[in-house]
């Protein structure tokens, strides 16, 4: 028996910045929880269950919900920890969704955070493949050869540049389009009080002046590391009617994974991290479940998890929101802008704000705020938002989670 589930509130830490020196981890998270209660008028007694997610190696704290239980007002409640890397925020959201949809809870709070300033981001990311690399080194395997490079390339910037190059080849886009995409999102971020890297005057030229990290990835294309926390409150239809003035309804959730060889040599061929079959599968399933027949025309707002600027364009195509080779043309025509036909990452995206545990949840909360008409600072799109799509990816580019939201309940 599947119940309707609606998002009735969102809470952010007041700022998303490089270093929060004034608060400890649980104190920082408590700010977002406070905001969630403030924005909805709810109290801790209203919450039946809590879902908690973040990427733990970045802070070196295991099961942080145990330390933070009092700070997130969850004493005595069912608390579920979800940790799936980059998709964590949305995976946690999906867990919250199933708590309510199944009837096992009526009001659920999803809590996510990351405090990157307390650890070393590269260490956190390298930790995905450190055992493999260390094993190969100890076994005397030449890590500069095919499979070794593939493994190392799987980490962060290496594999990502394969992905970006492949995307440019398939789509006919150029590096200048990636520059322009990054610039647009940094301009959008300037209109979002909860974004990190803001530049109201950002241009493709300014981005093009930043250092080349690994062609075609420039420094200006890359997400920051941010300290911040995001909270999202979900409710059943009955509770939403009782507790909320505006609701963003969850029409469907879906996810898919492949394996960690993307970017590696398999049978003498590099598997293509731009192929993103899990994205296509997850999107198709989400659209089926939501009754979306034409993703090219039905969405009013899109939020894409873009740790790297080319990914906004690439995923627009992989999600079926436009044809392959069309995303950069939509960008050129201004259609992806806040005032455009298909506003994409009005929030500034992950490329502007990245406290990893929150990054995937922020795609959902930002889409929800657009539906509810509650996006602050000037990044609310100037039209009615009936349907929105939120996307996320994670791991060695092999996890994708997708959420479809609407302004009415999905089932009668």
């Amino acid at each position: 028996m599947m119940r309707n589930v609606g998002i009735i509130g969102v809470g952010y830490t007041p700022i998303f910045v490089s270093k929060r020196k004034d608060v400890s981890i649980p104190e920082m998270i408590s700010e977002a929880v406070d905001a969630g209660f403030r924005n909805t008028g709810l109290t801790p007694e209203d919450i039946d269950a809590v879902i908690f997610g973040n990427m733990q190696t970045f802070e070196g704290v295991n099961l942080p919900h145990l330390w933070a239980v009092e700070h997130i007002r969850a004493l005595g409640k069912p608390v579920m920890r979800i940790a799936t890397g980059g998709t964590t925020g949305m995976s946690a959201f999906h867990a919250g969704y199933y708590h309510v949809a199944s009837g096992m809870a009526d009001v659920v709070m999803v809590v996510t955070y990351e405090k990157h300033s307390e650890g070393d981001a590269q260490v956190g990311l390298m930790g995905i493949i450190t055992p493999e690399v260390m094993t190969m080194l100890q076994a005397g395997i030449d890590v500069t050869g095919g499979s070794g490079m593939g493994a190392i390339g799987g980490g962060s910037a290496g594999g990502i540049s394969f992905q970006a190059m492949s995307y440019l080849n398939h789509s006919g886009a150029s590096i200048e389009h990636i520059d322009a995409m990054a610039a647009m999102e940094r301009r959008n971020a300037a209109k979002n009080p909860y974004a990190h890297l803001k530049d109201p005057e950002c241009t493709a030229e300014k981005i093009a002046e930043t250092a080349m990290v690994s062609y075609p990835i420039r420094f200006g294309h890359i997400c920051p590391t941010t300290d911040g926390s995001t909270v999202c409150i979900l409710a059943s239809e009955e509770k939403a009617a009782e507790l909320a003035d505006k609701v963003a309804w969850v029409w469907s959730v879906a996810n898919c994974c492949s394996d960690a060889t993307t970017g590696n040599l398999v049978d003498g061929m590099i598997t293509d991290p731009a192929e993103q079959r899990p994205c296509m599968i997850a999107a198709r399933q989400a659209y089926e479940r939501a009754g979306i027949e034409d993703p090219k025309t039905e969405f009013d707002v899109i939020e894409i998890y873009n740790g790297f600027a080319h990914q906004t364009l690439m995923f627009l195509e992989k999600l079926g929101v436009c044809e392959v080779g069309e995303a950069h043309k939509l960008l050129e025509a201004g259609e992806l802008e806040i005032e455009g036909r298909l506003p994409t990452n009005a929030s500034g995206g992950v490329v502007s704000t990245n406290s990893i545990g929150t990054s995937a949840l922020n795609r959902v909360t930002e889409a929800a705020l657009q539906i509810m008409g509650k996006a602050e600072g000037g990044h609310q799109v100037p039209k009615d938002v009936h349907k929105a799509l939120a996307h996320s990816w994670g791991g060695l580019m092999q996890y994708v989670a997708v959420t479809v939201l609407g302004d009415t309940p999905p089932r009668k």
Partner: protein, 382 residues
């Protein structure tokens, strides 16, 4: 509760202190073994939920390399980073929506040959205080809990020896347990070295390698997969305070709360009378009666009588940990799932040397955190 969800099958690894395997191979073996037994392949699984821990696996996003070995390639998958009973709760909820018919829950903990087997709890500590002070660790905290519990009722420390001897004796009969000390007596347990008083080595769980997989199915699907479905009748989860100085360490309010929700759902009004057996994740000897009291299965203050009379033995009135429990093996993240699987074995009458006589309703329990800060309780029935 609308609709029923059953355990259609499970596979427990033979646990050991030093398993010669890789994480991927272990899960591949467990999963393919279960699929073979049920006559299915990975197409029959609608969603995969992994329960492993990044710190124990020594890698970020510990599920990254585990998806293909469990059959999740190009399929729906997620990770609950807790004891796997919580992953069961998630799979259960997904099936209850009707959107999924089957869920494969997969877990492992390779803690036996870890360089630092006790780091798991260390990293859960308040990083700004307890971790800096270095007084609190998993063992010192458990010892304080043991001291508090024994002191509450004036139990002698030798009670811990009785509890451990019973569990380790049961473990010796169980094919999946790692620590199997056949014929061990309470006196011999009492000679093992002190770690933190009153806890001796044999009162504490052994760092273990092991894993467990379990397939949940909707009512219709369960009937197609097995002729002995074990039903999830109730499920509850709760959590206690973090600050150890604030907690009354002699009780477990979160276990009581979780049990209440589970019993209410299962329609159980008198647990001590209606439950036939319990598999409890007591990773230290004193936690067995402490948690059994919190579950409403033991009368408070009666532990000495209960153990000396054999009430909780395999042939006792209410067998507790007939498998030997976590003192026999504690592959962290799998321990609670193994308790569920052992309970299911009992309910299906397949527990051989550990089989209890009356097995219609069972309680299984899993924990997370220092001194069992967080607890999950499942009621199962055949």
């Amino acid at each position: 509760m609308d609709g029923k969800v059953a355990i259609a099958g499970y596979n427990i690894s033979p646990c050991s202190s030093n398993m010669v395997t890789s994480r991927e191979r272990l899960l591949f073996d467990l999963t393919t073994g279960l699929f073979e037994e049920l006559g299915i392949d990975r197409d029959a699984v609608d969603t995969f939920i992994i329960a492993t821990n990044d710190f124990l696996d020594g890698r970020t996003i510990s599920n990254v390399f585990l998806d293909p070995p469990i059959g999740a390639y190009m399929k729906d998958e997620t990770k609950v980073e807790m004891d796997a009973v919580n992953a069961i709760a998630y799979g259960w909820m997904r099936i209850l929506t009707g959107q999924y018919d089957t869920a494969l829950i997969v877990s492992l903990g390779l803690c036996g040959h870890q360089i630092s087997p006790y780091l798991h709890i260390d990293y859960t500590l308040d990083a700004t205080y307890d971790r800096q002070l270095k007084l609190l660790n998993e063992l010192s905290a458990a010892a304080l809990q043991a001291g508090s519990y024994l002191g509450k009722y004036g139990y002698p420390a030798e009670l811990l020896d009785e509890i451990a001897a019973k569990d380790l004796g049961n473990a010796a009969l169980d094919p999946y347990q790692a620590r199997r000390l056949d014929g061990i007596s309470a006196e011999e347990v009492g000679k093992s070295r002190y770690l933190y008083e009153p806890l001796r080595e044999l009162h504490c769980y052994p760092p273990t390698d092991g894993g467990c997989v379990m397939l949940l199915a909707s009512e219709d699907r369960a009937g197609e997969l097995t002729d002995k479905p074990v039903w999830i009748l109730g499920m509850g989860r709760s959590i206690d305070k973090y600050y150890i100085g604030d907690r009354d360490l002699a009780v477990s309010p979160s276990t009581t709360q979780a049990a209440k929700v589970a019993y209410d759902m299962a329609g159980i009004k008198d647990p001590a009378g209606e439950v036939d057996l319990a598999e409890i994740s007591s990773i230290f000897a004193h936690q067995e009666p402490l948690l059994a009291e919190a579950l409403g299965l033991f009368e408070e203050g009666k532990a000495v009588d209960i153990y000396s009379s054999g009430d909780s033995a395999i042939d006792g009135r209410l067998p507790v940990n007939p498998s030997g429990g976590a003192l026999g093996a504690h592959p962290i993240c799998s321990t609670g799932l193994i308790r569920m699987a052992e309970a299911a074995r009992q309910l299906r009458g397949e527990a051989e040397g550990n089989q209890v006589k009356k097995a219609g309703v069972a309680v299984a329990h899993g924990q997370d955190g220092m001194c069992a800060q967080q607890n999950a309780v499942v009621v199962l029935g055949i």
